[in-house]
């Protein structure tokens, strides 16, 4: 898939996210919109996956863990658009009996999900465990994880970061959605991450910095990350993004972290994003 085609998918995913959260009358649009380009590039170009034969173990295929589970609307949409399950199911987000739980759940058996997430800071450890198993089984495929920037305030992330470098877990590619916003305000105001690149470098990771809302940069960054893998160091991509990307009144504002657009706001937002693949 070329960059234009990936951009078309991302536009549709953004429409899905907004319509899903509006339909549920709750959810997290801000972070879902900031990581949309990355998830789209991962699933539609960069990861080796087989949606029609999903297995929990994922032997000989690339694995993805969403650590910041609250941005699952974007992930659910990408999974459905990629063929893991019917796109019609997207309308059930957060509704009783749905497989699309408010935060990802394994017990509801939605194809594509391998671990629950929502309580922050845990996905990097889980990804490292899966990566270690792949090494033990001589499986050369990769493990990808995505994290929020606010999530990096959790101590477990740094336990995991230290461990992965110490044990040369070089088949994992973590990504940080660095949109600088969290519930109570900017990252800088709430609890600054300081020099994030230097932190990861100091922890022993190979660091790649890109504009995470520019599809060409995302694809190039992922290619660069894949070539840096299997070289003795874990790899992290810092995605410099904007919360609410694609919708002017949500753009770069923490106020849209966890608020659903009403019908009027939805219409306004959808008018800014073309319907490319057909709404669900």
């Amino acid at each position: 898939m070329n960059v234009k085609e990936l951009q078309d998918v991302a536009a549709q995913v953004r429409r899905d996210v907004l319509r899903m959260i509006n339909g549920a009358k709750s959810g997290h649009p801000g972070g879902s919109l900031s990581c949309t380009d990355y998830l789209t590039a991962l699933y539609f170009k960069e990861m080796n996956v087989d949606p029609s034969h999903f297995t929990i173990e994922g032997k000989d295929e690339d694995i993805f863990y969403l650590s910041n589970g609250h941005v699952c609307p974007a992930w659910y949409s990408v999974l459905a658009r990629r063929g893991y399950y019917p796109v019609s199911e997207l309308s059930t987000l957060r509704k009783i009996g749905s497989r699309l739980q408010g935060h990802p759940s394994l017990s509801h058996k939605l194809p594509g999900i391998r671990s629950a997430s929502g309580s922050l800071g845990q996905g990097l450890s889980v990804g490292i465990g899966h990566a270690l198993a792949k090494k033990a089984d001589n499986d050369d495929s990769l493990v990808f994880t995505l994290h929020g920037d606010g999530e990096l305030q959790e101590g477990q992330i740094w336990e995991a970061a230290m461990f992965a470098a110490s044990k040369h877990v070089d088949n994992i590619i973590a990504a940080i959605d660095y949109n600088h916003q969290q519930i109570d305000g900017t990252i800088e105001d709430v609890n600054s991450l300081g020099n994030l690149s230097e932190k990861w470098t100091a922890f022993g990771w190979h660091v790649i910095n890109i504009n995470g809302n520019n599809m060409l940069e995302v694809v190039t960054g992922l290619e660069q990350a894949k070539s840096a893998a299997h070289k003795g160091q874990p790899v992290v991509i810092i995605l410099n993004t904007k919360m609410g990307f694609g919708v002017d009144f949500m753009y770069d504002s923490h106020k849209w972290h966890g608020v659903a657009p009403n019908d009027e706001q939805l219409a306004n937002a959808l008018s800014q994003i073309p319907e490319t693949l057909g709404d669900y």
Binding site: E57, G58, Q122, S125, A133
Partner: protein, 317 residues
Amino acid sequence: MKDFPILDKKDTRSGFGKGLYEAALKNPNIVALCADLTGSVKMDEFAKAFPDRFYQMGIAEANMIGVAAGLATAGKIPFTGTFANFSTARVFDQIRQAVAYSNKNVKICASHAGITLGEDGATHQTLEDIGMMKMLPGMTVVVPCDYEQTRLATLAVAEYEGPVYLRFGRPKQVVFTTAAQDFVIGKAQLLDVGRDISIFATGIMVWEAIQACKKLEEMGIDAEIINIHTIKPLDNHAILNSVKKTGCVVTAEEHQINGGLCDSISQLLCREYPVPVEAVAIFDQWGQSGTPDELMKLYNLTSDAIVNAAVKAIQRK
């Protein structure tokens, strides 16, 4: 009553270490993770024999539980090892989300549980762990009674599909069970038949219950002793059968009264067959430094305490 000869004196953690090693010989998918306590939790035999399947995690228990969940996702059978406090309280949310809610085949193996950890004092004397673990849907909780049973329990846990909490301890204790005795997760072990009172004990309190049974016999009281080595799923059938015969109960555990064995059995009996229940447990107190024997006496975790509780329960019938 039946005779229970003292076969040896060994620590239950060594039973775990032996069981883990033996399970690993049989199943190449078994891996072990340890948070800088390899010798203390007796994972050293495994680590030496299977260096490629042993992960030294350092002092980072939250990461250890998450990594174990990831290994299990890929089809491995991870056993995590550290002290009971760091196996539960410190990582409760990690176990809750990444292991129990995600239904991963992770075995959380906790040494130095209870007051008999001894001299290190209350920071390390975990008395709430059974409660925390049994509250999680889908979690199995196993508390074997001696070295040999801990070895067999570890082998059984390795074969069992699903998340398990396995609790054992530090000091050397009397060994009275044998390799010939079956260990089935979820099936209580009837040690001695009696008609006047049911004594349900778990962990190291099972030996105290046996001593209590001898003393009660001298007093003309015929006690039934049942080892509840699996707190969850509880063997409701065995408990109700015994209580319907005896009509009163003593529970004995090295754990807080809140959340432990007494709590599970009382819930069952309240619903199904209410009878007098007396408890030998820690009653909402912190531990302190001392030798295991001194602490057992100070906190009334003794055969005499079981005898007194039994007399009281019988009087209440």
